[in-house]
Symmetry: C2
Subunit: 541 residues, 2 copies
């Protein structure tokens, strides 16, 4: 028996029509370092229509890819609206990627047009010769100078291109499962992989962002979206804000702690979103030059686990509550949000708030243990998190990635526990966990405990082969300046902090732990150095 409901597809054209009319008065503000650029959704809607006409005039048809190479600013938002709503596919290029990855990604996605901020032209120009499918570069927000002279593409000025175009566009209604946008993951192994979002997935995800168990974004909010629009769709904030009429403050290239605090004090946003390292910087800035940022009723932190001390510092010293969330490019990205259950307060509430939080109804989860079977949601059994749902990736664009999926579920690569009431705590990355005698040891747990020793500056743990237990932890230690400590002392220190069977036997002492480009421990390098015999390993039992 079929329902009698209308078979109306979820569609970003409808979203643009709605948000730019019903919420046409909402503000869109771009920070410039000087006088902010202020406009409204109504005007952004008119300019998005002009952009769509302009792209058509450049020959963009069907589901061709229009790439952006931009900071968070008004023009980037216009592309977010125009490109999917006209039926094309928005491809956000991550400006921070190494040149060879950018070239690979733009070629793999077959980008037809790139919209680039004038300030980023110097980064893009050297790559253009290697981009096989790009025919047009549109420079937004200023003069490109001579950096693009001689490029084998047509170069356009964004404002010139739009100026003569009509300010209305008949946004088509497309199949809700068609591609709307794509974003490549900067995978640590192999080539980057493209996640392709649908109109449906973005619509549903936007609703979740404005649900009370999501980010609870409201029409009255003024959102400082620090998380880049080239990183996991700025956590879905641009579309969610348009859906419910939140105003938007965009920092453009001013992502240093000082201007971030400046714009918060000046513009008084009510919500903000960024990774922990940004907030660490903001906290230091506020320590150095105290100012009041308490207009922020909520700050969303995700991307990597937020230290509880940082959460407490913002709340206790600056009256700004931090909302911890988890997600990844493959999950659109909203996966879980750590709202404390109703009725909990104080330390009880904190116990929930420092977890990765609860998954909403639309994101199903299961934990797969070391034996490949599901482990119970008992708060202690550890497994790899697998998720499923309408805004979760089930594959990548034109590549096979079978080991990333498991019977239709996305393998997140994250290892942790779930409580009976659905609170997720991640303890490690699956590739970093130590599989010892059929049990899993969290590398992160050991690192945290070792780093609690006053003589230790840094500690990174990898798994190394062990004839009896399959794998055992190897701890790489950086001793703090002016201190000294040895493996036996550290093992003793851990004795009442970890279960006996987890106590590491293998230790190595380094001047520095190798780091990735975003400052995380680079365990891939440590594993390679150990495999090559380049580490001096001490045993302590």
């Amino acid at each position: 028996m079929r329902s009698t409901m209308q078979d109306h597809p979820l569609n970003l054209g409808d979203l643009v029509r709605y948000g730019t009319s019903t919420h046409g008065a909402a503000q869109v503000v771009t920070w410039t370092g000087g006088e902010p650029r202020r406009t409204t959704y109504a005007e952004v809607g008119r300019r998005a229509a002009q952009l769509a006409h302009a792209l058509r005039s450049l020959g963009v048809t069907g589901d061709q890819r229009v790439a952006t190479f931009q900071w968070n600013n008004q023009e980037h938002l216009e592309a977010y609206l125009a490109v999917p709503a006209m039926g094309a596919v928005l491809h956000t290029l991550n400006i921070r990627l190494p040149a060879e990855q950018l070239v690979y990604i733009a070629n793999h996605a077959e980008d037809h047009v790139i919209i680039v901020d004038a300030t980023l032209v110097p980064l893009l120009a050297p790559l253009l010769g290697q981009l096989r499918t790009v025919q047009h570069v549109i420079v937004a927000g200023g003069d490109p100078g001579d950096a693009l002279d001689g490029a084998a593409v047509q170069v356009h000025r964004y404002d010139d291109l739009l100026s003569s175009q009509p300010t209305e566009f008949d946004w088509p209604v497309v199949d809700e499962r068609d591609a709307a946008a794509m974003c490549y993951t900067s995978g640590t192994t192999g080539d980057p992989k493209g996640v392709v979002y649908s109109h449906r997935s973005i619509w549903l995800h936007s609703m979740q962002v404005a649900m009370t168990d999501g980010m609870g974004l409201t029409q009255a909010d003024y959102v400082l979206a620090i998380v880049p629009m080239f990183h996991a769709m700025s956590w879905g904030l641009p579309y969610a804000a348009l859906m419910i009429g939140s105003s938007t403050l965009m920092p453009d290239r001013f992502l240093q702690p000082e201007p971030l605090v400046d714009m918060t004090v000046a513009e008084r946003p009510t919500a903000a979103a960024a990774v922990p390292t940004i907030w660490q910087g903001v906290l230091a800035e506020l320590d150095a030059r105290p100012r009041d940022i308490s207009t922020l009723r909520q700050v969303i932190v995700g991307g990597s686990t937020c230290p509880p001390s940082l959460m407490r510092a913002f709340e206790e010293r600056h009256n700004v509550p931090i909302l911890h969330a988890w997600g990844m490019t493959e999950t659109s990205p909203l996966g879980s949000v750590a709202h404390a259950p109703g009725g909990t307060t104080g330390d009880e509430a904190w116990r929930y708030r420092i977890t990765q939080g609860r998954l909403p109804a639309s994101v199903q989860a299961r934990l797969i243990g070391s034996d490949g079977a599901q482990v119970p949601w008992d708060g202690t059994s550890v497994g790899e998190l697998e998720v499923r749902g309408p805004w979760i990736a089930g594959g990548y664009y034109q590549v096979e990635a079978g080991d990333k999926f498991h019977d239709g579920w996305l393998r997140t690569g994250d290892v942790g526990t779930l409580t009976p009431d659905g609170f997720l705590t991640l303890t490690d990355r699956a590739k970093d966990v130590i599989k010892s005698g059929g049990e899993w040891i969290s590398s992160v747990d050991i690192e945290n405990e070792v780093m609690a020793h006053p003589a230790v500056a840094e500690a990174a743990v990898i798994a190394v082969p062990d004839p009896r237990w399959d794998e055992r932890p190897l701890v790489s230690v950086v001793v703090a300046e002016g201190e000294s400590v040895d493996a036996t002392q550290l093992r003793s220190f851990l004795a009442d902090r970890l279960p006996k069977w987890q106590l590491p036997e293998y230790w190595t002492f380094l001047d520095e732990v190798p780091k990735t480009s975003v400052g995380k421990f680079d365990k891939k390098v440590l594993r390679a150095r150990h495999a090559d015999g380049d580490l001096t390993v001490t045993e302590a039992r």
Copy 2:
């Protein structure tokens, strides 16, 4: 280009699995007049599984209809969960309908099973002989006595039927566009018509209820759902509450003002939902016996327009904010909600709050004027509201109803205005509006102005044929006891209250305005009496 998102259907089986585990500790409380019956979503989930097994054992397969004839209580909620989640179709029978309509509806829907509250058996038993497809009656919540003796159906006791069944059920994943539930509109003309909700429409609607621009229901809420589960799916509250883990308080048959206040004082719910007449009664009860109901952080009022005086009284005298909303059975029912825009306060906020509110992104609207063309959203141009979207009906179950739909849009039968920023104000029912010389006159506006005269007790306005203007208003007046007033005086009274061209020429004086079963003016009867020449019409110009 297809997206790489998982093609995961929106599904009530998933919702039941999620809500009864992640939110398993949330409370489900049924008022009994004595000690409330308390349980949890976890237990309701186990009993829903038992109910599904029991229904299978009675032969319920595929998309067969399982009807309910119940108050809002735990067993009704169990049916809400079990029936759609097992793939069958929940059919909520409106216990307040006349017998012949109930018989028509149950036969038209081909109900296979009816679950009935023991207290409602006396209402159902006399009809059973005329129900052609019903094979099983399951009596919940008590002993049916001998009322069902001799009925040509199998009679079961709910608890007995469930007791031996397994407490887990492997809820199937079904096509999201398949039927989940159905509800007949008690149309004022013609036979009742069935609206069939899909798994998809219910899922999306539940998300909207928990969105900040919907009802903003949260996990911390304890919801007193007074609006009957047999009336427009209790405004979607049962599924929305399950989706985000709100606790639920259900009044069973105790819908009188006194027990409603009693249960609010005793149970301290944080949110409630009911039609204006319920709140009018609660207000009078509180005037008679003052008590504190201010645990209610929000009361949702819909079903018919809420008098602003009632909204103000609750807020100013009882510290309970009323949230005005509009919808209908055909809109699942959430259509619009009157949140004042951020930053507005005082009288400015009230101007928004007394409208029908804003439509969310998923509900598109247009106004069709008297000439069949769209009228602008300027806050003054009047048209019939038409809506479109994924939880809006596009037809009725197995009947043609072409005139209820227009190019794929639902004709709501409501007439009103929209502001540029999307606030809806309804001024009349389309069938009551007076089409005079190409313009529309609101019958409700004239009624309100006439009733403002101190000598008038009641006034109802209908359109009557007019040779020059097509239609003109006829005002039926009931003079207040001990007062006297004539047509000329009333017309003079209106002179500075209405535009000149709207001033009525035709008047009739009655002892009483005929009313429908729910107490609304029955204009159908007035129109028939006028057509039959049974009204004495006075002319005043």
